[in-house]
């Protein structure tokens, strides 16, 4: 019972900090504090929490699907695929409503993951560390295609906003799609056991009666939607899924029915913390949360790579 309380307290502290900190002071009186919170601070805080939660959950699902804990969507080219889908729809139908763009991004993300799974299956060696390398190169190739396409069609500035996550532009009316992540998180929690079973590998999971293909397709479909939502509203954040699921797993194991909420809370808190840090480091200017997370996340990844294997969680 103590753990949920601690998590709630930490998140509450972060949310309070996030609502109070910003270029315009809440207490100076020259602005209506309630108005500021409703139109800017609250949307921004909610966006960081939702994006962090979604990315953390997406990381878990991808890791279980390929039985490898060194990958996550941003390490297997998923955001890049989503960007290609968004670019394509922007070119084909510039005035498309946002949800159509979203769907196009999600479909492209799904196709990108399917491509990666094909690569992973054909990979000659089962070295867990080879998978993220191939995934990153795969993402790099997709990104090169995206850059080229954006360059020749003059859409570079779109690509720029999708590539780096920044919460400073989040205001009321421009982030509400992200609430979809909350719904997806609930859906994922309902099938948490199945996602854990994916991690046992195809044969063993099927032997336990799991419809492996269907479950994996469902999980990856959720991942694709989350990534497309995040990319289109706030831009990509690297390493969130990797860091959240690995740290929680080292600490509490992988029984997702028990841990999925912890992982989600960890991801949400970490992204919000990165955003707050970005607001503070060079106050009143801001540093994008994506930049902070790239540095911190890469550092944690290096530690995961070279640290001794996790001790028993007891």
């Amino acid at each position: 019972m103590r753990l949920p309380l601690i998590i709630a307290l930490v998140l509450a502290a972060l949310v309070t900090a996030s609502l109070c900190i910003g270029a315009a002071s809440l207490f100076a009186g020259d602005l209506d504090a309630g108005f500021l919170i409703a139109t800017s601070r609250f949307p921004r805080t909610a966006a960081a929490l939702l994006a962090g939660m979604g990315l953390a959950l997406a990381g878990v699902v991808v890791q279980q699907s390929v039985q490898n804990r060194l990958v996550e969507p941003s390490l297997i080219g998923t955001p890049e695929s989503a960007m290609l889908g968004l670019l394509a729809i922007t070119l084909a139908w510039p005035g498309a409503p946002i949800w159509i763009k979203m769907c196009s991004g999600a479909l492209a993300a799904l196709a990108g993951m399917a491509g990666f799974l094909g690569l992973a299956r054909a990979l000659p060696r089962h070295d867990p560390m080879l998978l993220p390398i191939v995934g990153m190169i795969y993402g790099g190739i997709l990104m090169a295609v995206g850059l080229w396409l954006a360059w020749v069609t003059d859409l570079m500035q779109y690509l720029g906003t999708w590539r780096l996550s920044e919460f400073s532009g989040v205001v009321q009316g421009r982030y509400e799609l992200l609430w979809g992540i909350a719904a997806l998180a609930v859906l994922l929690y309902l099938v948490a056991d199945r996602i854990t079973l994916l991690g046992l590998g195809e044969t063993q999971a099927r032997s336990l009666g799991l419809n492996y293909g269907q479950t994996r397709a469902l999980g990856l479909g959720i991942v694709a939607t989350i990534i497309a939502l995040v990319v289109v509203t706030v831009g990509t954040l690297p390493f969130v899924g990797l860091v959240a699921s690995n740290i929680v797993s080292r600490w509490r194991g992988d029984n997702l029915r028990a841990n999925l909420p912890v992982i989600a809370a960890f991801g949400a808190g970490a992204v919000l913390a990165a955003d707050i840090l970005g607001r503070l480091i060079r106050y009143p200017y801001e540093i994008p949360a994506g930049t902070i997370f790239a540095v911190a996340g890469a550092g944690i990844f290096l530690w995961l790579l070279n640290a001794a294997p996790a001790r028993a969680h007891d």
Partner: protein, 253 residues
């Protein structure tokens, strides 16, 4: 009873199993032996409904494993694959509890908890129940996996090379345990096990199916198969068979 009729299986161009027909009666341990590449593992996976054959059919107590809903199939037959690579960090109890999944589909009840504990106890895992899988030795890990398959409560337990990476002591303990559990009391289960160590089969199996080049070389009660002539026909080399405490012992000549 498992009934296999005219079963064929090919992977790409290679024909792995050719027109196999056999029946395995309920109870006891049935060992599948044969040289490397004879198709032992493929046969086991086809019976469990996890590999789709190119022809023929399989019935497990009348159930078609390829047609039945996944969870019905998993309640009829449980398969443990050879040295599964499990990257997931689970405690022993959590792993074994997943054996109950085909029964509760995500909403475990008290009965599931009871059977999980029972499976843990059956394989002496209760003291290890809260340990993480990755802290276990190879033998303990294998026992936990067998316990998970056991907790599936399927009448048929299919094990693919369960003795791999086990010390002689653990191998003996496991086979002894399976031997006792497949006697009629307290509840009769049947074990089909792929084994490459002929003497492990000779020492514990009730029946033996010997595969050769994707076909059945011989099958029958253990003592009938463990003869120099039959073994020579299957493995293409000479063996001596001696009798030791009413069980055959096979020595390569």
């Amino acid at each position: 009873m498992i009934e296999v009729s005219n079963l064929s299986y090919s992977a790409g161009q290679a024909q792995i199993l050719r027109d196999i027909s056999l029946t395995i009666p309920q109870g006891g341990i049935t060992a599948i032996i044969g040289p490397n590449g004879a198709g032992k593992s493929s046969l086991l996976h086809c019976i469990a409904g996890l590999l789709t054959p190119s022809g023929g059919q399989v019935r497990i107590d009348g159930l078609d494993p390829f047609d039945a809903p996944h969870r019905d199939r998993a309640r009829a037959v449980a398969l443990l694959q050879q040295t599964p690579r499990i990257a997931t960090r689970l405690r022993v109890r959590e792993l074994v509890a997943f054996g109950r999944w085909p029964h509760h589909g995500g909403r475990p009840g008290p009965e599931d908890a009871r059977l999980t504990e029972e499976a843990l106890a059956t394989f002496d895992l209760t003291p290890l129940a809260d340990r993480s899988l990755e802290t276990l030795s190879g033998g303990q890990r294998q026992r936990a996996l067998v316990a998970m398959t056991w907790a599936q409560s399927a009448p048929w337990l299919l094990l693919d090379e369960p003795l791999n990476a086990l010390d002689p002591k653990y191998a003996r303990d496991l086979m002894e345990r399976l031997h006792d559990l497949t006697r009629p009391a307290p509840e009769q289960r049947s074990v089909v096990v792929v084994i490459h160590d002929i003497n492990a089969a000779a020492g514990w199996a009730d029946r033996v199916i010997a595969l050769k080049d994707g076909e059945i070389g011989a099958s029958g009660p253990c003592n009938d198969i463990m003869t120099p002539a039959t073994l020579h026909a299957v493995f293409g080399m000479a063996f001596d068979v001696i009798d030791h405490k009413q069980r055959p012992v096979v020595i390569a000549r």
